[in-house]
């Protein structure tokens, strides 16, 4: 939640510490969303099968989740599995699900220790029952935590989220003339959460890939060439520092608002 908590966690005297000291803690992004890309490429560079890249990617998740909580982010959203990812080979999909279960088993203690609330966004009902049980269990056990909210996007698609929201809006019987943006946002998976201020994408790709389409309307986008398995606290801090150097206008003209000032 502060510089001290972060300094406890990162190696002293390294580039992390230097970056941590550059962060202005009074204007942190409230919500950071990350498109975790590059696991396959990471594995390819090492002549390893793709699944080894995902395995290595889990380590990056562990590091980034705890770093974000210590940094003091309100919300962290990781794009783990998209509605389109089912097109991948069955063996890769089942390994991803197995890794997800293993991650939850290993990291639940870390989530609890860091007061992190775990939340799944996406069409989770389509996941295998054993995976769903683990997810619900983690959500239930961390439900009372008051620290960072950690969203994991599983079987997620930005367009399907909007479609789901539209369905829910219609089911709720809202009068079409009364429906405005704020009200519509309450039907999204991220109801009640601040929109992402910073969207990070790894592996150098310049795409949004159907991620949080509604919510990233005014997000600052920061792309790094680092592949996801190599992504660590240091890169997260680089992203935050870069974000804080930007001016955000939210469609206005003057005066530009430095990022994070509300």
């Amino acid at each position: 939640m502060s510089l001290d908590q972060l300094l406890e966690w990162i190696p002293a005297g390294g580039p992390e510490e230097e970056l941590a000291r550059q962060v202005e803690f009074d204007r942190l992004p409230r919500h950071v969303a990350i498109i975790m890309d590059g696991n396959g490429r990471w594995a390819g560079e090492r002549h390893l099968p793709r699944v080894e890249g995902h395995r290595a990617g889990v380590e990056a998740v562990r590091d980034v989740v705890e770093s974000s909580a210590r940094l003091g982010l309100e919300v962290l959203t990781l794009y783990a599995f998209s509605v389109e990812n089912w097109k991948r080979p069955a063996a890769e999909v089942s390994t991803l699900m197995m890794l997800l279960k293993r991650y939850l088993g290993l990291e639940l203690a870390t989530l609890l220790r860091n007061n992190i609330r775990f939340n799944v966004i996406g069409r989770a009902e389509a996941l295998a029952p054993d995976v769903r049980t683990e997810l619900l269990d983690a959500e239930r056990k961390t439900a009372k935590n008051t620290g960072m909210l950690f969203n994991i996007a599983l079987n997620y698609g930005g367009r399907s989220e909007i479609v789901d929201a539209a369905r829910r809006a219609m089911e709720s019987g809202v009068n079409p003339a009364d429906l405005d943006e704020d009200q519509f946002a309450r039907f999204l998976y991220t109801a009640g959460q601040p929109d992402p201020d910073l969207l990070i994408r790894t592996s150098g790709e310049m795409r949004v890939s159907n991620f949080l389409l509604w919510q990233i309307a005014y997000a600052e986008i920061w792309v790094t060439d680092t592949l996801w398995p190599d992504f660590r606290c240091r890169h997260l801090l680089e992203g935050v520092v870069a974000y804080q150097k930007r001016d955000r206008r939210f469609g206005g003209i003057t005066p530009p608002v430095p990022a994070g000032v509300r």
Partner: protein, 260 residues
């Protein structure tokens, strides 16, 4: 003096290869080491009375080594193939009776005992990087040294008098305590992604498997009535003598890494 000089030179070369080569090139080195170790292994088991088909077993062993690190083929498939080609060779030999089983077993042991571990070592390099390989080698070395010195200082009870008369239980405890502590301290710095209890558990497993590997190789040599596995390294004996503990420890480390 020869022993110190060749030890330092060998260590420096190994270190440089692990540090500067990429995983594929390192596999080439591992295959070469594997072939040398196999050559010594063949001589040892011949001393015990097993006649293994040299070339087919060598190919099976190298294949096992090559297929592990990049998971090109499932390791089970490689072992099945090894069994197949070794069996064909044994079937066509002129031996009869109990020695046949000895021959087959000794041949099948080679891919498991030599190929798999050296392949795992390259696998550690590919998955977790050169730091992890050095960490493994350093832990095995620390465990060996700790066993030697605690054994010399407090050694009373022999560990396995039949296999290796000089080894003591107290020495083994020294390795089992000091190696995990070293691995935890070094690991928290070099591979900070894992929690401390992970390193402690892994350290105990590495030390234990190292001790077993060491005893196993002594046992083979004793059975063959040999002092050293070879004479390749001046003052150090053979390749197998150098890597005996590592052979049992590296698959442990590799599969630990793949477990997470």
């Amino acid at each position: 003096m020869t022993r110190v000089l060749s030890g330092v030179a060998l260590g420096a070369v190994a270190l440089a290869l692990i540090w500067f080569l990429d995983s594929i090139a390192l596999l080439g080195v591992a295959l070469a080491v594997c072939a040398l170790a196999f050559h010594e292994y063949e001589r040892i088991v011949a001393g015990i009375g097993a006649k293994i088909p040299y070339w087919t077993t060598l190919v099976a062993t190298l294949l096992a080594c090559a297929m592990v690190p990049f998971q090109w083929v499932e390791i089970g498939a490689v072992l099945a193939l090894a069994l197949l080609i070794v069996s064909v060779n044994v079937l066509t030999s002129d031996r009869v009776g109990a020695p046949l089983l000895t021959d087959t077993a000794a041949a099948i042991l080679a891919p498991v005992y030599l190929g798999l571990p050296l392949g795992s070592l390259v696998g550690v390099h590919a998955i977790a990087g050169r730091e992890a390989v050095l960490l493994l080698i350093a832990t095995v070395a620390v465990s060996d040294t700790a066993q030697f010195y605690t054994g010399r200082a407090f050694g009373r009870t022999p560990l396995a008098p039949l296999r290796s008369p000089k080894k003591t239980r107290e020495g083994a405890y020294g390795g089992l305590i000091i190696a995990p502590l070293f691995l935890t301290a070094a690991g928290m710095y070099w591979l900070p992604i894992y929690p401390w209890w992970w390193f402690i558990t892994l350290g105990i497993c590495i030390a234990a498997s190292g001790i077993i590997g060491d005893l196993f190789e002594s046992m083979l040599k004793r059975a063959a009535d040999l002092k050293d596995s070879g004479a390749l390294i001046p003052g150090h004996g053979g390749v197998l003598d150098r890597i005996d503990a590592l052979l049992f420890a590296s698959p442990v480390f590799y599969f630990f890494l793949r477990l997470v």
